[in-house]
């Protein structure tokens, strides 16, 4: 109470202020707050993803999700613009579950490579994440790059394919109003995840090692 009164005295110099001055004094900390609040952002990628609309492969597939993937967080400090955090991990489970649900006749979470009854087990990993802000690129865009690595294990648990995938997403800060920092970065990260799904869907059957594995599986040679 004493502190509050001392603050009030210091703030108002012990005199009654006219309305305009009072407004000005109330606006000043607000302005300072707005300026001070313009540093960094922390976002989490939303967990809703579509299921790819493709011809399903008649295979039972396993999905191996490591704790490193499902808890992946990218943190970076940018000089002059604070601390940035993109939480990607929590989105990986729904993302890859939907991806496999659309691409294969059936899929399930596997705990090891070479689980019984599964034609193959896919293990995705995030190798690197980068992002850029409009201040850095002198553009209107937040951009996010994710470099994935996929490993495909056969029925017996041996590695049959290993390939990288680079996904990219961007979002225009002007689409997200005055406080665009977090929603635009989140939209860019989500776009990168969707791009990874789209790229995986169209690329999967053309990876040479995957093609060989698929040919053998579809011919029933590995049954």
């Amino acid at each position: 109470m004493v502190l509050a009164n001392a603050f009030r005295r210091a703030w108002f110099h012990g005199r009654r202020l006219p309305g305009r001055a009072l407004l000005a004094r109330l606006l000043a900390p607000l302005t300072l707050g707005l300026v001070g609040g313009c540093s960094g952002a922390a976002v989490e990628v939303p967990q809703e993803f579509p299921i790819p609309l493709v011809e399903k492969l008649p295979l039972r597939m396993g999905l191996l999700l490591t704790p490193e993937l499902t808890s992946y967080v990218h943190e970076q400090t940018l000089e002059g613009s604070g601390d940035w955090r993109i939480e990607l991990g929590s989105a990986q489970t729904p993302m890859f579950r939907n991806l496999l649900a659309g691409m294969f006749e059936s899929s399930e979470i596997a705990t090891t490579a070479g689980a019984p009854g599964l034609a193959g087990v896919l293990e995705p990993a995030i190798e690197e994440v980068q992002f850029s802000t409009p201040d850095q690129t002198r553009s209107d865009y937040y951009e996010v790059w994710i470099r994935y690595r996929f490993q495909l294990f056969g029925r017996d648990g041996t590695l049959v394919a290993d390939w990288p995938l680079a996904a990219y997403g961007k979002a225009n800060q002007r689409h997200y109003g005055m406080s665009s920092r977090e929603p635009a970065l989140q939209a860019a990260a989500l776009a990168a995840c969707r791009d990874a799904m789209a790229f995986f869907t169209v690329q999967f059957r053309s990876v040479p090692d995957v093609q060989r594995w698929l040919a053998a599986e579809l011919a029933g040679g590995s049954e």
Partner: protein
């Protein structure tokens, strides 16, 4: 009550800058909509182009067309999700001639059928600030706050819609909408913005023209 409404309307009119809008269309094929047919309005986000059509403009055209109640307009995000991954920036068709190849995928053809999709409308373009001038200074002191000066800026909207006929996999035509307007903000203590609704004019003009185009008119 009536007086307040009148003053409100008058204020709105006075506070809007002037906008000049132009709409043009090029028809390459006949168009018609049967009952149950739907259209979707999509913003161009294909690569390698770095430009993107503003989300709010695409949304605005779709909303205005839906308001006409003559056609069923599918939400852009719902459409992209339903057709995932075939309309993502990496995979979206660039020309109407790419559609037959996409339609060879049975699941995709079935989805188009179930949506009753007849026309795909791709919107390309943006609104840019082309000129700005003047200066305005605001200050907050212990005696009060206020602004003094004059600002003006010109916005230029330029959009083109390409209409693809899903049944024939051809481009049915193009509609372009351009709008230019100057906004002003004089300030003597209180700034008074006279905003020219450039983008919304381009949006409503384009939506009206698209409805006319799809109904076979124009």
């Amino acid at each position: 009550m009536m007086r307040r409404l009148l003053i409100g309307s008058l204020t709105m009119v006075l506070l809007q800058g002037c906008v000049t809008a132009t709409v043009q269309q090029v028809r390459q094929a006949n168009t018609s909509m049967a009952s149950g047919d739907s259209v979707v309005v999509l913003g161009r986000r294909s690569r390698p182009s770095t430009a993107e059509t503003e989300l709010d403009f695409v949304d605005c055209v779709g909303r205005n067309m839906r308001g006409g109640k003559q056609v069923r307009v599918i939400e852009e995000q719902d459409f992209r999700d339903a057709l995932f991954p075939w309309f993502e920036p990496r995979t979206a068709p660039v020309n109407a001639s790419d559609l037959p190849e996409l339609m060879t995928l049975p699941a995709l053809a079935e989805r188009f059928e179930s949506l009753g999709l007849r026309y795909l409308i791709w919107i390309d373009g943006s609104t840019k600030r082309t000129e700005s001038g003047g200066s305005l200074t605001c200050s907050i002191t212990t005696a009060g706050a206020g602004c003094f000066g004059f600002l003006s800026w010109e916005n230029d909207s330029s959009y083109e819609a390409q209409i693809w006929d899903v049944q024939t996999a051809t481009t049915a035509g193009r509609v372009s909408s351009d709008a230019v307007g100057t906004s002003y903000m004089p300030a003597v203590i209180v700034p008074l913005p006279f905003i020219a609704p450039v983008k919304s004019s381009a949006c409503s003009s384009m939506a009206d023209q698209l409805l006319t185009f799809l109904s076979g008119g124009g």
